[in-house]
């Protein structure tokens, strides 16, 4: 079972236990024998019906109402605590991943997502960190390749310029030029091979 699934089960069970317990308590309290006893005693203590004071009879019920109110407040505090906790544990790391990923999207490849959690959200963060690290390597390699190609192109250009200037091209010079051209092509081939590990969407590559 996934860790996140287990986490959801823990939270769901806690909600169930809290709600069920309070529900049982409310049912117990509303049907309390003590209220009945208290009302009966109050009525029995009076000799005539005129002596019966409605406030006196209602007192235990009103007290019960106050108690219910306190229990509901406790329930609300518990549920709020639970959701706050849930938000801290699940939503907060997800939000962090989204904001840090936006930085990557804007070109900051030095971004590292650090999370305290131990579940799949942390795995997701670590995967994004690896992805960013790979992207950084690819960018560095592209930069190096382009620089090498630029260097070779410059050398070829120099040789061609000299040849045009002298209007002479001996066999040796021709072979050097050809070699440089082949090296340049090989570099480009290697560079293209680098991308064969990536799958591309249809239509992106012709």
């Amino acid at each position: 079972m996934l860790k996140l699934q287990k986490k959801f089960i823990v939270y769901s069970l806690i909600i169930l236990i809290v709600v069920l317990s309070i529900f049982i308590e409310v049912i117990f309290e509303s049907g309390s024998v003590n209220i009945e006893k208290s009302i009966t005693n109050t009525i029995n203590a009076k000799k005539t019906i005129e002596e019966i004071n409605i406030d006196e009879i209602m007192a235990p019920i009103r007290f019960q109402q106050k108690k219910m109110f306190v229990i509901v407040i406790i329930l609300l505090i518990l549920i709020t605590l639970l959701f706050y906790h849930f938000a801290n544990e699940i939503v907060k790391p997800l939000h962090k991943i989204i904001t840090e990923s936006a930085k990557v999207l804007n070109g900051d490849l030095t971004t590292v997502i650090e999370l305290d959690s131990t579940d799949e959200i942390k795995d997701l963060g670590e995967t994004i960190n690896e992805l960013t690290s790979n992207m950084q390597e690819v960018v560095v390699q592209i930069k190096n390749w382009v620089e090498n190609i630029e260097k070779l192109n410059f050398e070829m250009e120099e040789k061609l310029r000299k040849t045009i200037e002298t209007k002479k091209l001996n066999k040796r010079e021709f072979q050097d030029l050809l070699k440089a051209y082949r090296e340049n092509t090989a570099l480009l081939d290697d560079f293209l091979k680098l991308f064969t590990i990536y799958k591309m969407k249809d239509g992106v590559v012709d």
Partner: protein
């Protein structure tokens, strides 16, 4: 002011001094005393827990300041134990007082024997927190602790301590601090719900005694033989639990 129960003050004072390092909660000591004074179960438990709350609150604030409370686990345990405290408290109101006393006797016996025989600090680990997903098999423990504290005034601190320290291998300071925090909240909920049952004529002396003893206790801790105190309290509570269990059972049987 009614001074009938003035002698509760020295009892509470010395209990707070000597119980601080013994590992036993204050209510385990006070509730039998209150039963002995003839209080009904709900009165004894409410007065015992409000007394314990007084002692626990200063300890809780101290631990919060030291930043050794694991709120993550603490809140999860509170969420499970508080509803059970409410149910347990209700059971005290509807059950036969003798049955409540028998349950109290059993719980005191179990925790006293456990503390005497198995509670070794060497078996604790170094964790400072615990992942929620791995908490799934232990959900019943805080609920049981809450039910126990609602029924007997003992349980949340003890079960949380065992769960965090011995099973989940928490660092001893974090386990104790988180247990005290959870117990403080459980005591508070019980006290609020049972405010009409608290015997303030007794609580005024027990609370002030605990408050004063709780300040002096930690200062004297290093001079007191902690291991011996733990055994003395353990044996005394075993005897109290046994006595209450047998007497209540005999009364129940005798009708």
């Amino acid at each position: 002011m009614d001074f009938t129960y003035w002698y509760i003050f020295p009892i509470a004072f010395f209990t707070a001094i000597f119980a601080t390092g013994s590992g036993f909660g204050g209510s385990a000591v006070f509730v039998p005393v209150f039963y002995f004074l003839g209080l009904s179960p709900i009165e004894a438990l409410s007065t015992g827990l409000v007394t314990e709350l007084t002692g626990m609150s200063s300890a809780t604030f101290r631990y919060i300041r030291q930043k050794v409370v694991d709120y993550h686990m603490g809140i999860l345990i509170i969420l499970l134990s508080v509803p059970a405290v409410i149910i347990g408290r209700h059971l005290v109101l509807v059950l036969n007082p003798l049955i409540v006393k028998i349950i109290f006797g059993v719980v005191v016996l179990v925790f006293a024997i456990y503390t005497l025989l198995f509670n070794r600090s060497g078996t604790w680990g170094n964790r400072k927190n615990f992942p929620t997903d791995e908490f799934l098999p232990y959900l019943w423990v805080p609920y049981f602790g809450g039910l126990s504290i609602g029924l007997t005034s003992i349980g949340t601190c003890e079960t949380t301590n065992i769960l965090l320290g011995q099973i989940l291998k928490y660092n001893v300071n974090y386990a104790v601090a988180t247990s005290v925090f959870v117990n403080g909240v459980s005591d508070l909920v019980f006290s609020i719900l049972s405010i009409e049952s608290i015997r303030w004529d007794i609580a005024i002396f027990s609370m002030s005694g605990v408050l004063l003893g709780g300040q002096i206790g930690p200062l004297l801790n290093k001079y007191l033989p902690q291991k011996a105190l733990k055994y003395i309290f353990g044996i005394a509570l075993t005897l109290v639990g046994l006595r209450m269990l047998i007497l209540s059972y005999l009364k129940l049987k005798g009708g």
